[in-house]
Assembly symmetry: D2
């Protein structure tokens, strides 16, 4: 953002007024004039308020091109549930992969019994190695949807390619786009075209601006809504699997007033940090959390190491959902 000064203005005075409002300012000098540059990490202030400061001639900013993201509501209603910052947390739980029909039914039942209303599980799994288990595919989608129906749970699951989008949308209430695909534009378009709400995971090294623009791709092609999901970015520190950026969560929730959830399972990759990071996510402004839960993590077909077993999931779900949620 650039603050243009009136010819007669005293720059230092305007600078003080901007700093007073939480803006980071540097002076720009040219041959004939001085203006003020406002850094992007400044507090959000209405440009009209800035324009009203004595000495300010105009306030200029880059048009990011986010007409549809800007129009998103701060509160969604999905399957009758209000999803927003400050509401009862939206808890999406389930295994990393849908492993078998019996297994997903068993887990769905267990989760429903603890008050969970949304089920996650991968039918198509992105895997770093071509030789790893990549999901049971179409069949698993049907098992998942059926388990959700049987236990009254909404379904969140991932589509990995444009041609899968319709199929996945036919079985899911919310279409998930994975972190590695945040800028897979053909997929974003196809996901949007299904008209389902999209849960858009942040890329491993994506800026907030790129994340918003990725959502705009979905919305421009028809998505009903986009929920942002922070799942950890890449870091230099091996002590956690990824680095959960709760500043970005607070920014989306409080400044952009968007619906954002956090996936602490992938974020930390450590079972022993999931409870405190879930609490922190909600405190930062997240509308909910996405949790990996498995009844026997040692036998999970993928990512069992970060899944919560029932003994750890039960008290966390009780804390998040309250005793009245459980059946």
């Amino acid at each position: 953002m650039i603050v243009v000064l009136r010819p007669e203005a005293e720059p230092a005075g305007v600078e003080r007024a901007l700093v007073e409002r939480g803006l980071w300012v540097r002076r720009l000098r040219g041959a004939s004039q001085t203006q003020l540059e406002v850094a992007p990490h400044s507090a959000a202030v209405d440009p009209r308020e800035i324009a009203s400061i004595a000495g300010v001639a105009d306030v200029l900013s880059v048009e990011l091109g986010l007409p549809r993201v800007t129009g998103l509501p701060a509160r969604l209603t999905l399957r009758g549930q209000a999803i927003a910052r400050g509401q009862a947390p939206w808890v999406i739980a389930g295994p990393c992969s849908v492993e078998s029909e019996a297994h997903i039914h068993r887990l769905a039942e267990w989760l429903a019994g603890r008050g969970v209303r949304w089920l996650r599980g991968g039918a198509f799994k992105p895997r770093t190695s071509p030789y790893a288990f990549a999901g049971h595919g179409t069949e698993a989608l049907a098992w998942l949807a059926d388990a959700g129906r049987a236990h009254g749970l909404g379904i969140v699951t991932e589509a990995m390619s444009p041609e899968q989008a319709e199929l996945v949308a036919a079985h899911a209430d919310v279409l998930q786009i994975g972190s590695r695909n945040m800028q897979n534009f053909p997929l974003l378009r196809a996901a949007g075209a299904t008209r389902k709400p999209v849960l858009l995971k942040r890329g491993l090294a994506s800026t907030v601006e790129e994340w918003l623009l990725a959502a705009e791709h979905c919305l421009a092609h028809g998505a009903e809504a986009v929920v942002f999901c922070e799942r950890g970015i890449r870091s230099f520190d091996p002590s956690t699997r990824n680095l959960v950026d709760l500043g970005a969560v607070a920014l989306l929730a409080h400044v952009h007033e968007l619906v954002v959830v956090v996936d602490p399972s992938h974020g930390a990759g450590r079972r022993d940090l999931i409870a405190p990071l879930s609490r922190a996510a909600l405190a930062a402004g997240a509308a909910g959390v996405m949790l990996e839960v498995h009844d026997a993590p040692g036998h999970a077909l993928s990512d069992g190491s970060q899944a919560l077993p029932p003994s750890l999931a039960a008290p966390l779900l009780l804390e998040l959902l309250g005793p009245e949620a459980a059946a």
Copy 2:
């Protein structure tokens, strides 16, 4: 960590038992044997528990050399106040720089009236440019200490070089080491030698392991205690000034059981994110927060853009400290 298998053990079975406990495992193969490598982002599990798994011959790990950090208590008592995860939050507040005798007294009075018991303020300021205001120095130390005494506040302030350490320690209850100095080893030694508790800010690109080792430097030279302060690490995203790593906070608080605080003012650099990040910090396991507060941020001599003015500080302090804390 390495898990050595007994000759007759079936690796897959031991792997399942490790994954069951939240460990990330890869198989290591040699000419004559197979062992299991456990990634550092695994959940912390007592090696004795691992050793008791059928098929495990031994559990090997690197000795980090942290005898004194390992011995630190999870709870400190400073000026009669219990400082620990889960206790009433330790709130340290004040201006970025100590600007004048009158100013620091005025702020100290205002803060004390809202229940704050700890005052921060810089006498010696690290500044990126050699031509920027670098603090009022020795004189400011005395003003700060005097303001603390007058209003019953403990003092946290920074020493920037070994020869300042004694002087700063004479005026401070807690000696702060800044982020840029986290691996300034002569300073860590000098700070330790004062025998004061040290508040050790994390370096901009420091791993948790390096942070713990920096604390070991202080402790090995005599520091009474070390409090860890997460203040944001460097990121690629310009939308916040730094990136607050609450996963590291949760790790220190819940796994290492150390006392850690968060500085959301430097962490986000954005006044509009300080309240949610303060809540998130405490939810993640921080024992407290360090807040920049200024009665007229537009006139601050440094970092006014991230300081909370009274209108924003008052409700946050009320939320953090409770109505009974205020005078």
Copy 3:
């Protein structure tokens, strides 16, 4: 890598022998034994050499699962041209986007006249904003292939989704996978299935190990060869668009003995650094460079700011290809 010691071995002696060979070593201790951990940033040494050190019982390592990448030759022949470290540089040049039939013919002619034998240009363009120009699509592919044929140039161009792969392969000699799609696994599979050589750009925050595994996806599904393309990773420093990691280039070229090229246009994003970074890339072991060239960058439909105009491209091509290459 883990070095298992014989029971009677003296660890310090083995450590010295390992350090002598350029390995970074930490001691692992358990209840009954000591082993040595070798860090991944160690020099590559044949495990058999390590096993032959006195006191070493076995050398264990993780099987990365790269059978096909490991089998790739250090030298490719494409369109009769030897492509390898140390050979005459493989120069791929052209515009960011294929803008019109006339335009790509004009550029192809100009490049061919300066000795370039490979033409790049995007028909399908990944764009951060949904409202930006995204390429002329199928039509542009035909223009590009035709321009290549007319001027004797090989074609390198990008496919963005699985269903485009066959079509793109029908027009291209080498199929490009863009940075944002490095872990778009359905696309990697489809690209492999075309049996064309794949030019695989490194993801913005991908490790070398992930990059190799992405290549394995292509190879496992049929790709004839994979060429690795370093195009800059994400960094905290705004003074270059991305950060060119020539250490990774040296690692691939000298240790893994793979064919790697560098795209300094995207890497730096700065026209004024393209010549020195091209030289540095080749010096680090790259087999070639990929350059954006445009006859009128101000009118380019995308990324004109980083394209070299003829006045700058001509001397660089002369330097890279030698005077004898020009027509």
Copy 4:
């Protein structure tokens, strides 16, 4: 940088003219005017040239406050040797630590015999662990200086604290500031006050702008010159110890026209990449390289794993210095 348009100017035309010159441009819009923002990763163009474009009213930029850095020459003469981009490479070689009087003499003799004219070696060593060898201190300084004198070598060695600066300067031709101390401002001031040339290593997560400002600290306090040393920044990829940023080297050498050297030993941490990265560094514009060499790396007191043994150092020195340099 901001380009102010004349009221009658057509923004698109000016944008084209800026892109034509290699600038990245975004349009800034306000209530009454439009201006153009130029990104920092744009090619460097003289503001007067931009001001001369039709439609441009003024060109504004932030004054970084680098009067002394800006005045530094592109070529230094140290001990009679021209040090600059494009000159015979400035090779500084030696052990990580000065280990004993006999040892440093032996190495100095060996290096001098291969044409090296500058000796490095640490008397005071920053170490991550407080229990690691931290250098032989004052005594080692004398050994180092004596070895340099005996063999006609200039000395580069590190000072770690302000009170060491004078002492180190008394023994060194060039005073080194380590990476962890790049923003240790009291040290920068003390180093400057010795009036010696300073070799300033880049911090692990420092921007180029911060690096230049750190140099300004030295110069403002009296340093005769500053040489910039890129030694790798922190990365997420464990396959190299650090990530050598040769884009930053090219930027300093070609755009800022400063003297920059590269330390590939710390940069890669891998002995097997030091030769290609040395070549790449010089190709990118470095005036020289700093190499760790040890006659018996397995017995080195620190960082032996990255030191070149004579068998590898000899051919690299021959390549860098030419056969005529050797005695």
